[in-house]
Every structure is written in structure tokens, then in C-alpha cells.
Amino acid sequence: MTLTQQESAPNAGQPDGRIVVHELTKVFHGNIRAVDHLSFNVEPGSITGFLGPNGAGKTTTLRMLATLLSPDGGEATVAGVDLRRSPGEVRRRIGYVAQGGCTWDEVSAREELVYQARLYGVDKTEARTRAEQAVKAFQLDTFADRLCKTYSGGQRRRVDVALGVIHQPSVVFLDEPTTGLDPQSRVHMWDEVRRLRDEGMTVFITTHYLEEADALCDRIAIMDNGLLVAEGTSAELKREIAGDVVTVGLNGAIEKAVELLSDEPYVAKVEALDDSVRLYVDAGATAIPHILRTLDGAGVTLGSIELHRPSLDDVFLAKTGRSLRESAEGV
């Protein structure tokens, strides 16, 4: 028995970091389906990102998987343990870092780390050792003994994550780990997240940043209105959109442009945005002269024209009919 466990475990001493979710559902106020029959699997030792606008149900899903909310339907296995049957055992195996942070202003990061370790049942000496290890691993040395209220946003966030993994869980949930951070701190946080994955942890993050999902996540699940609309690696998702994307910036006359271009044989699909039109075409380089001619001939003035490979935003747009950038800005 012990032997088979050791053989199947990717890391000695760490339980299975797999997450299996089946038809998970959460209903608020009787009729708002925040999460609607959600099913997906997360492979151990990977970084999986939930991408979607605010209100898509990402945080609700995370809170259910972290035992903070009880599901109204469906089931899930987190780190090899049935979520609904043994939430206490799930808690031992997971870490959770909330969106809004979790440190208390009047204590230092080191005090928080020692206390957090002790909440998992270890004695004082062991807790101090673990806190010291965390301070080193997350490079908190320069400020670990100052009070938390003196920290910058990036420092605070690193402490949050260090607290979430002080007990070396096999799965860690990070809710919007980089929201509100400056670009440098964000990249620093990405490095920390990759390090956790490389140590064998399953990392599950939510984000509404396309770049973050693209750069950081091994697999991406796109969520909208409580539903999973697409799932796969970044490359797989983009491959679903054949060809190139041409974005034409316009000063008004959007509807007219859509009308004109929809009829063109080389255009696969047209999407109207606020001040631009997005065209999905087979070959962008040859399509651009045609686009210019068509619009110019009809007297539509172009502000700009841009050719690019499909991005995750194009995937989101294709799946939901909205741009994630616009959804995010609208909030």
C-alpha cells in the first residue's frame, strides 16, 4: 500500500494534487446561478488559470473548492479528497489566498508565518523553521520583521502567498494574485507561482488579465456567466480561431463598415467593437489591400489598421460575443 502510494505520487510526501470537478453549481439568492454545472479536471503539478470578466463565477468556484462555500449541486475531488464529504481533510491539503489579502496590520510577516504554521498543528520550533524557510524562499528578508502595515502592495501579496503555502499543500488556489500590482511586482509574482509549480504544487489561479493567462498558465479555462466556455492550452485555444485577425480602427460608421465587409468573400467573420471592427480572415497580408479598397471606395475613413495573430481576447470574443478587455473596463 505504502509502496503504490509512493510510486504514484509525483513528489514524495505530497498527496495527489489533482482536481476533478463535476457539475459543480452555486446559486445565490434563489435564482442567480453564479456557477452553473461546471465540470473540469486539473492535472497535478500544473498552473491552471480561470480567465473571465468580473462576475463570471471564478471566485465563487475557487471558494467552493477551498471549502469556504458549500456547493448547491455537483461534486468535486480536491487533492484526492471528496470536497463535500471531508472538507476538513481538504483543508489540510490545500492553500487558499484570497483576492483582498489576509495579513493583519499590527504584526510582522514573520509573526504571521509562525502563527499560520501553528494553525496547522505544528509546534513552535517547527513553525519558526518553516517561517524562516518561507522568508528565504519568497525573499521577504528585507521587511519580514517590520509590521505588515508598512508593506508595499507587491510585498504584501508575496506574504499572502507565503502564508497560503506555509504547510506545503499539494494544491494552492490564488484568487487574482496580481490584481493591483505594478508590472515589475507582477512579473516577480509570476516567478513565485512558477517556482511553486516546479516544486510539484498544483496551482490554480483566477485572473482577468489576458497577458497573465497567456504567459503564466499551462492550461486556461475561460469562464463567463457561471459557465465554462472554453478550455485548453493557450495555443490550443488560439488554434480554434483559424487564420489572422485584422482590426480596423474607425471614426464612426461602424455599422456601415460591418455591412460592407460581411459580404466580402475573404472575410470569415466580422465583429463590431466600440470604435473598431475586427475581421477574421484566412490570410491577413493579402486581405488588407482588399479591406482598404472596399472601405475607401464606400467613403469610410480609416483611423488605423492592424494585423495580428489571434489572441486570447479573440478567443473570448469568439466564444462569448464580447471582448474581455471591454468587459473588464466596463466594471
Binding site: 483582498g100 489576509c102 502563527y115 494553525l119
Partner: protein, 247 residues
């Protein structure tokens, strides 16, 4: 015992925070000290008592008042912790839910006892006398009140999650309870009949009996039984609130 260990862990952390800013312990004592200095002298004439009798009547009630107002508002601290995300962080750990409450209530009981002893010492120059055994019994009663009211305060804080809602609610409930307990002046007439339904009336009567050197008075055991029962009920309710949505 996990419960005892976890409770001690939560308590020591909370106590560390209190000791880091002990000035609040003193600020919490200001209200009863004002009553002692600025209201106490009036009682001597109002009640036509000797100064010693007046203080022996007034200070035991004042201690109950300190226990009420010193612990009824501890929920505010919890709301701040909820907002900082600290509570949620702890709820994801395997720490005992009951300990999250008991550790905090234990801190409230200890700080209250320190304040109660200080207030008693401050009242000694006014002619207050008390036997040490009676005082210990009175302090036990105060600690039970602190447990009950802090638990209620935490449970309401978890429910309301807003200082703006908690403050008026606490005032709306605590004022009539205070006035109907006979702390400031002895109750009489119909107020006495209503006051008989107020558990704090028994606590005040018991406290007075103890300071009068009469621990055999029936109000003492009645108050201990009533307060213990209510404290257990309140702690159960609050512990459930802590565990709610997290089995």
C-alpha cells in the same frame, strides 16, 4: 486536546496584540472611572446613605456595567479582522472553529478581569471593602458575563459585517438592559417588575451581595446559574456562526 491547544494559540495571539497597545485597556476603563468620580458622589445624597454604603452599593453595579460595555463591543475588532481577510485565512486552516471564538472570548475575559481589579482598587479609597473570597466569586461572575456578551457581539458581527449596523443595534439593546438592571439607582415600582426579567438584575444583586459580605444570598447562586446558562447558549450560537458554511 486540539480544542484546548487551538484556543490557547488564538488567545496568545490576541493577547499579544492587546499588550502591544495596552493603552486601550486603560481607555476602556475611562467610562466606569468617570461614573465613579463624577456620579458616585451624587448617590450619597440621593440615596441618603453614608459614603461607604453608597460606594458599596454603587461599585458592584459599576463592575457589572464595565463587564457589559467592555465586552459588548468587541465585535468591532472582529469586523476589522473580517475586512482584512484574517478570519477567512484561518477558516481555510484545520483550526477548530470553536477555538476561533473561545480564544477571542478568553482574551476579552482576561482584559475585563484586569480592568475590574483596577476599578476595585481605585474604589478602595472611597471606603469600599470586600473579602477576597467574595471578590473572587464576583470576578467569576463578571468573567461569565464577559464570555456571554463577547460571544453575542461576535455572532452579531459575523451576521452584520458592518460597524454602521452593529453600533446602533448594540446601543438599542444595551441601554434598556443597563437601565433595567438597577446599576445606577435601585429599581422600584413597575420598573422592578420588568427588571426581574433582566438577567443582569440578578448579576447586579449578586455582585452587591458579595461586596456586602453575604455570599449565601440566593441572588448569588441564581445569578451564577442564569449567567452560566446564557453564556453557554451564546457561545454555542457564536461558534455555529463561525462554522457556518464551513462544516
Amino acid at each position: 486536546m486540539k480544542l484546548v491547544r487551538d484556543t490557547w494559540l488564538v488567545f496568545t495571539r490576541q493577547m499579544t496584540l492587546v499588550l502591544r497597545n495596552p493603552v486601550w485597556l486603560i481607555v476602556g476603563l475611562m467610562q466606569p472611572v468617570y461614573f465613579l468620580l463624577l456620579f458616585g458622589p451624587l448617590l450619597k445624597n440621593a440615596l441618603r446613605m453614608s459614603a461607604e454604603d453608597a460606594y458599596r452599593f454603587f461599585v458592584p453595579g459599576l463592575l457589572v456595567q464595565l463587564a457589559m460595555f467592555g465586552t459588548l463591543f468587541v465585535g468591532f475588532g472582529l469586523i476589522a479582522e473580517l475586512r482584512a481577510g484574517v478570519i477567512e485565512r484561518m477558516r481555510v486552516t484545520p483550526v477548530s472553529r470553536l477555538s476561533l471564538l473561545l480564544g477571542r472570548s478568553l482574551r476579552d475575559m482576561v482584559t475585563l478581569l484586569v480592568q475590574a481589579i483596577l476599578l476595585t482598587v481605585l474604589a478602595l479609597p472611597f471606603g469600599l471593602t470586600v473579602r477576597i473570597g467574595d471578590l473572587l466569586l464576583a470576578l467569576a461572575l463578571l468573567a461569565l458575563i464577559a464570555l456571554m456578551l463577547s460571544a453575542i457581539s461576535y455572532a452579531l458581527a459575523l451576521k452584520l459585517r458592518s460597524e454602521d449596523a452593529l453600533a446602533p443595534l448594540m446601543n438599542a439593546v444595551s441601554m434598556p438592559v443597563l437601565l433595567l438592571s438597577g446599576i445606577l439607582l435601585p429599581l422600584s415600582g413597575w420598573l422592578r417588575s420588568v427588571g426581574d426579567w433582566n438577567p443582569f438584575t440578578y448579576a447586579v444583586d449578586a455582585s452587591r451581595a458579595l461586596f456586602a459580605g453575604d455570599p449565601g444570598n440566593s441572588s448569588v447562586w441564581k445569578a451564577l446559574v442564569i449567567t452560566t446558562a446564557l453564556a453557554v447558549a451564546a457561545a454555542t450560537w457564536a461558534a455555529r456562526s463561525f462554522a457556518r458554511s464551513v462544516r
